[in-house]
Symmetry: C2
Subunit: 325 residues, 2 copies
């Protein structure tokens, strides 16, 4: 089965999606011209808007009737996501994201840091307007955990002793947690607390699968097809799952090469590392972990009533897997 993003995932919430886009534009409006032009630039450079789409699908899957509110929540999610991307690009000194110049490259680091701060604040401001303390607490705790996950990733850089548990903590914070907020938040707003836990589990496992797949692609993709360069993670000495698995599966010289590459960073041994990652069965292990996480995500969805929205959430999880098939 081939999944078509527009048809099989976006279609059920296409109307909400358009409304949400409008809410984002209103949300980033500011009396300071530079705030607006930078915010507009970074929001428009966004990708598929997977997170807000998940939020909208989750809201409908819970039977939400006040769609204005879930559209606003979806807009808030995308603004938080955009803020983290803007700060990530400063942090990584990136010049391009999805082929477009980043905010730090187009303006400068100062502007990017401060507009990122504005987007975080504005997202909270809109969240407060939704007037729901449970939602606010979920988001305020969640955004702390996201920042902690990102710092944990820095802390693990160049550390070859990083284990799979630490890796899972990192990707939970930096990736899965925002997916969780998107879906769990929708359940809170919809007034269906019984769906919070299953949606959180769905999103958490989906996020893990999504990030593991992304980390696999760093050792298999080519820049042209996915806008990524092979070896970006290795360059920065990031102990991602392919390397953690390779260390587990190897001994002697191969083991030493991987350890050294994590410790020093750089890509002087990239070819050997790629070879070891492929031959040692590390990538097979990563693929099976991504499959497991996807299965767990799909299982969690079963707690929700059958609907085209639940189906679309399942399609999204399956589509992510296709990137490594």
């Amino acid at each position: 089965m081939t999944i078509d993003f527009k048809q099989d995932i976006l279609a059920p919430v296409a109307t909400d999606f358009a409304e949400m886009d409008q809410l984002i534009n209103e949300g980033i409006s500011s009396k300071v011209a530079l705030v607006m032009s930078v915010s507009k630039h970074v929001v428009e450079a966004g990708g598929k808007r997977m997170r807000p789409i998940m939020c909208l699908l989750a809201a409908h899957a819970c039977g939400e009737t006040d769609l204005k509110r879930s559209q606003m929540l979806a807009a808030i999610i995308e603004m938080l996501h955009t803020a983290t991307l803007v700060h990530d690009d400063v942090v990584d000194e990136s010049g391009l994201r999805r082929g477009k110049p980043t905010a730090n490259a187009t303006w400068n680091n100062q502007t990017a840091v401060l507009v990122g701060d504005f987007l975080i604040s504005r997202a909270f401001d809109l969240l407060v307007d939704l007037d729901n303390m449970t939602l606010l607490k979920d988001f305020s705790t969640g955004t702390c955990e996201i920042a902690e996950g990102e710092v944990l990733q820095l802390q693990a850089q160049h550390q070859p002793d990083t284990d799979e548990n630490t890796y899972l903590s990192i990707i939970h914070g930096k990736t899965s947690r925002l997916f969780e907020l998107a879906t769990e938040g929708a359940a809170i707003l919809a007034g269906t607390p019984q769906y919070r836990e299953p949606l959180r589990r769905f999103a958490g496992h989906f996020g893990n699968a999504f990030q593991i797949i992304d980390d696999i692609l760093d050792y298999t993709s080519d820049a042209e097809t996915l806008g990524k360069n092979i070896g970006d993670d290795l360059m920065e000495g990031k102990p991602t799952l392919p390397l953690i698995a390779a260390l587990k599966n190897t001994q002697g010289e191969q083991h030493d090469i991987i350890r050294r590459s994590i410790s020093t960073g750089g890509t002087s041994e990239l070819e050997q590392v790629i070879d070891i990652v492929h031959r040692s069965g590390a990538l097979d292990y990563c693929r099976s972990r991504a499959q497991q996480e996807t299965d767990l995500a799909l299982q969690a969805l079963q707690a929700l009533p059958e609907s085209p929205y639940r189906q679309a959430l399942g399609n999204l999880a399956n589509m992510a897997l296709f990137r490594i098939q």
Copy 2:
């Protein structure tokens, strides 16, 4: 009259101050070691803690009885302030703040940006626990305005046509707004809405005076006494009030020198600029504006009942003025 900071300002809230310090330490605790050590570093590098002290004094001046809550609010204010300093240091590529190495210098830009994000999120998380929607709305709007003020400052950089109104918008956002949140927030928490407006006006005018004084010192202080270098603002092409006033008071070559210095930045004409700023009466004008703002701040305080706390707030406003006397 000489005002002693400890005796005349801090003393009435010394006990709360110690409790607040403890709350900050608990607030920045994290399961990620790097988050904690960086947060601890930047919090400990803090200065006099003027903002939380104002918050505590305002709470008592409103007759607050639940001191645990105002101590928490004061801790939140200091955490927000610390977050902006951490990001400012990244933005300004500063290596030292108050003579101590900054977070970006001690660790790196990545860590500083992300720990700043963590501190903002944690501050909101603690704020949500105070369970007051009015307070949350005030803070979420206020933090947007703070970020907007900082971006407006960047937008005005190298713009010699910046007028005093724009300058006032900048300093309101980057400096006064957090003072306002500190005092207005205390009135909200104390359940004395009648004191919100006077405290907001006190803090707003105090903040303006404080920043105008700071900007004067950039053309009069020396690095040793105040930890500032003469000409830092000029270096960055910041059109602060001394330059805006000098442009108003001059014509011909002197006028051109000031305009050019703002446009290009740098300190190649620093000596002439200092000379023009002094001789043209620009600094006198700035001093009189700082005095005016202080007078307005003190007037606003009169709406609060007489108390040692109100007195201490007045002392704080007067003490700030001494830096230019």
